[in-house]
Amino acid sequence: MNAVRAELEKLLTLPSLALTLGLTWAVTLLLDALDPPGGSVLPYGQVGFLILGVLATAHEYQGGGQIRTTLLAMPRRYRLVAAKAVALVVLAAPAALLVAGTAGEPDGTLPLVVDALVAAGVGMLVRHPVGAAGAVLIAYEIGLPLIRTRWGEVTGWLPPAGLLIFGVRPWCSRAATGQPDLDSRVFNTRSAGSHPRNTLALAPPRRDSDGTATLARGDP
């Protein structure tokens, strides 16, 4: 319990985390106010929660080697990891509810918290804030949609997220949450426009197994 409190205090007092959450909320609010055609603004908030997760663990490995002090105080490593996860959930859950509520989709709260946890796991594995942020963002925003369009059948076979969250690669656990999640939602809704430039990186259109058209770019 002390461990969780200590970790939570660290998270609450880090300026970069407060800044990330503030910006996430501001961007969601702003985009929601613009009311863009093509659906949800929650995927933009998702980016913020990924960065939040990465920073929550990777900040220990920034200059100064905070992790050494932390491990001196809490030498039991598994307990430390568990405390970090709990503290992150305590911080991220209300923030996620706020952001998801702002976007008008309170259902999106849980996926956002899971995203933050997965990103935290990657931050812990990579131990390099910039590297971890790059890896998570590229995996989530470019790799995952690519995998989803190419091998939509595979995602159902990936292991459940909750059990392996700190061990597996992010896209596996993310895809395994099973819900019609943000990525596929945004993919279906936003691809309805004609040829978005931002799908440059994506694979060409194909039909999903259930017959719904998943177009990476313009409808004919």
């Binding site: 100064g64 804030p129 910039v130 430039r197 440059l200 694979a203």
Partner: protein, 249 residues
């Protein structure tokens, strides 16, 4: 100046993270040609492509990530603490001790980056287009040299854009987030083009007109696109240079 360039090139190519950028840039786009070959063929058969000459060029979008990573790490590495025991000591201190003239330092750094990114862009573009021809054969018309040059120019400009932004923010995470998100399906720039047509002239959106025929709902001539994007990059570089000259190291 040559020795400055040499020093900066060695520093850049000595970074592990830069090699990640190099490999992503070199491999991602050609790999995507193979991975998406089947889907692309189906899409052509179904008539989803109105302009098949865009085919190879569209794949390049994922490779530009390499240029972004290179542009970011060439600056962010200078601001990373050199050792765990000395969090205040950064590479930049040593760099500036060796090259006190800041404008020259920035020029050398930018030139080194441009050189690496241009070679990467050229090799990857040629390889990707050749592979597309190999995989799809006569379905794809042979690429015009002008568009090839446009793609390489886009590659270099994106690298310099990342370079300028990282100099302004002095933080790799911010720049990487902005750029990666904007080149993905949840691009804020693209969303803005749906709200106002002025957003078509944002640097990362307008740049794509350099080598793609179909981008979004709006049409911009390649030369205009190149000029607008170059103007953005030049303005941001000027701001970055001014800030770098005035800030504490």
């Amino acid at each position: 100046m040559v020795s400055l360039l040499d020093a900066e090139l060695r520093k850049l190519l000595g970074l592990r993270t830069a090699w990640v950028g190099l490999l992503v840039g070199f491999l991602a786009a050609p790999a995507l040609v193979f991975v998406s070959a089947g889907g692309t063929r189906r899409a052509i058969a179904e008539g989803l492509y109105t302009d098949s000459s865009d085919l190879g060029f569209q794949t390049l979008g994922i490779g530009v990530l390499g240029a972004m990573i290179l542009g970011v790490v060439t600056v962010s590495s200078e601001y990373t603490p050199t050792g765990e025991d000395a969090p205040g000591a950064r590479q930049l201190t040593a760099t500036l001790a060796a090259m006190p003239r800041r404008a020259r330092l920035l020029t050398a750094k930018g030139a080194a980056l441009t050189l690496v990114v241009a070679v990467q862009g050229l090799v990857t573009t040629v390889a990707t287009l050749a592979l597309t021809r190999l995989v799809h054969g006569s379905l794809v018309p042979s690429p015009a040299p002008g568009r090839l040059a446009g793609a390489v120019l886009y590659w270099v400009l994106i690298g310099l854009l990342a370079y300028a932004l990282t100099l302004i923010f002095r933080n790799g995470i911010v720049t990487l987030t902005v750029l990666v998100v904007n080149s993905s399906i949840v691009s804020v720039s693209y969303l803005l083009t749906k709200v106002t047509s002025a957003a078509v002239y944002l640097p990362d959106i307008v740049g794509a007109h350099l080598f793609l025929n179909e981008v979004g709902d709006h049409d911009v001539a390649p030369v205009t696109a190149g000029l607008v994007m170059a103007a953005w990059v030049a303005a941001l570089l000027a701001l970055a240079g001014w800030l770098f000259g005035r800030r504490d190291a």
